[in-house]
């Protein structure tokens, strides 16, 4: 297994709403091998995004373990210190959020190329790779030099996807990567995911689009809402 989560529990305590507790995940498990894509499904409110964020270490879980194979060693990101998790995110664990968090003044190309540089690519090579993947996702060369803050939602999401696919990831987490895309761009993203799988990436994702899910997922894990408010 490249990534394996077992017995995950997550409760949110909303102090500003009188301390109400939301039990979102209980005893959730999911795993993916190299070259395998696992889709998380379930009704709205079942905790799909929560689980995906937990797998990235963005949400702290209350119970369970999340083992990620990092540099050949299965490492529990729940117990790992901050520096280890940052290292895992730099080298092993990629994540595509639903929205791009644009940085003022930084161009689309620089956002994408910076990721490749972080992974050790030389700057000119990173810019070439960035321009290529952005071009493939239909971000024209004249747009690549502009900060994405002014782009449409679909264009921003394509920049976000380009940043994830500019270098290969051993494990890739995707939260609705095709949500704001038209059919042509959706097909390009499906092709990118298939190529990543062929290169041995373990993919876990949320895909509301059934055609996308059927094209890419080898397995489906269905979550049911825990639904109980203490």
């Amino acid at each position: 297994m490249m990534i394996e989560a077992r017995g995950i529990a997550k409760t949110f305590t909303l102090h500003l709403q009188g301390g109400v507790k939301l039990n979102v995940l209980r005893d959730a498990s999911i795993a993916a091998r190299a070259g395998e894509c696992v889709a998380i499904s379930g009704p709205s409110g079942a905790g799909k995004s929560t689980l995906l964020r937990a797998l990235y270490g963005n949400y702290l879980v209350d119970a369970g373990e999340i083992l990620v194979r990092h540099k050949g060693v299965a490492t529990d990101i729940v117990a790992a210190p901050a520096e280890t998790l940052l290292d895992i995110r730099r080298e092993t664990l990629g994540y595509v959020s639903q929205f791009l968090r644009a940085i003022p003044r930084v161009s689309a190309l620089d956002i994408v190329a910076a990721r490749a540089v972080e992974r050790g690519m030389a700057a000119p090579e990173a810019r070439r790779a960035g321009a290529e993947i952005l071009g493939r996702l239909g971000i024209a060369a004249r747009l690549q030099g502009l900060p994405p803050a002014t782009f449409s939602g679909g264009e921003q999401q394509r920049v976000n996807i380009a940043r994830a696919f500019v270098c290969p990831w051993p494990v890739l987490l995707l939260d609705e990567p095709t949500a704001s895309l038209d059919a042509a761009n959706r097909d390009i993203v499906v092709a990118l995911m298939q190529e990543a799988k062929a290169q041995g990436a373990a993919i876990i994702g949320i895909f509301h689009d059934l055609a996308v899910r059927e094209a890419i997922a080898d397995k489906v894990v269905t979550l049911q809402p825990v639904r109980e408010i203490a």
Partner: protein, 255 residues
């Protein structure tokens, strides 16, 4: 990465007000750590104690200058001064308080190089010009007095004058605090790029969560002189556990 700076059990009171209550933390090499909290939370006091500008009532700050962690108090007054001049930097909210306004821009940058032992006038001038360009000020302004600069330019000049010696550790106190929003983005972007390129470790105090999210690897949330929460920046901001952090995060107006 090894620990560069560490605080253990810091205690500081001003009159009857506890500014620091049993504060312990660590900073690793090349790491960017943000300290957030409201006014009066003790964040600036912590920064000043870490930087050796203020002494704690109890507890100790340790620094690893290459031979392992040693308490600042053991380095001595002169040693600390040398450290602050050569290997550390401090960027203040108000650049007017840090810069010498009656000395040219090039002089302000060159001063720190000379304090570090630089003697060759031509080389110092050359380096100063490069650093002006690095902070997006025309090198043609090298001989101009800072009093002719705008607030944003002054802050960029302070950044150049601090980073010119390529310090390994820089403390920042609300570096974008006094600036227009349009100018803030530019300064933040500059800091982000320069700090990553030089591999500087940074402790930055800010009340602006957006600044922390943009710059910091890790985050410390302070309230009433105590650390109430800490962790990876995105984790603390997206999944805040402490009541006060939840309030802080939910109080931000979406852009």
């Amino acid at each position: 990465m090894s620990i560069l700076l560490q605080a253990r059990g810091l205690q500081k009171t001003f009159g009857r007000i506890a500014a620091l209550e049993n504060v312990s933390m660590a900073l690793r090499r090349h790491e960017i750590l943000a300290i957030v909290g409201e006014s009066g939370s003790g964040k600036t006091t912590l920064l000043n104690v870490l930087a050796g500008r203020l002494s704690a009532d109890a507890g100790e700050v340790f620094y690893d200058g290459g031979d392992g962690l040693a308490p600042l108090s053991a380095i001595g007054e002169a040693g600390l001064r040398r450290l602050q001049r050569a290997r550390w930097g401090f960027i203040q909210q108000d650049p007017r308080a840090a810069l010498r306004l009656d000395v040219s821009a090039g002089g302000n940058i060159g001063e720190r190089l000379m304090a570090g032992g630089g003697r060759h006038y031509g080389a110092i001038r050359e380096t100063a010009a490069q650093w002006l360009a690095a902070v997006e000020i025309s090198p043609g302004r090298l001989d101009d007095m800072p009093k002719t600069f705008s607030g944003g330019m002054l802050q960029r000049l302070q950044i150049a004058a601090t980073l010119v010696t390529e310090p390994e550790l820089v403390f920042m106190d609300e570096p974008t605090g006094g600036l227009d929003v349009s100018v803030q983005a530019r300064i933040l972007d500059l800091i982000r790029g320069l700090v990553r390129r030089l591999g500087v470790a940074v402790v930055i105090v800010t009340h602006d969560i957006g600044v922390a999210r943009l710059l910091a690897d890790r985050l410390i949330v302070m309230r009433h002189g105590r650390i109430v929460e800490s962790g990876l920046t995105d984790q603390v901001l997206d999944d805040p556990h402490h009541e006060y952090t939840q309030l802080l995060v939910s109080s931000v107006l979406p852009a």
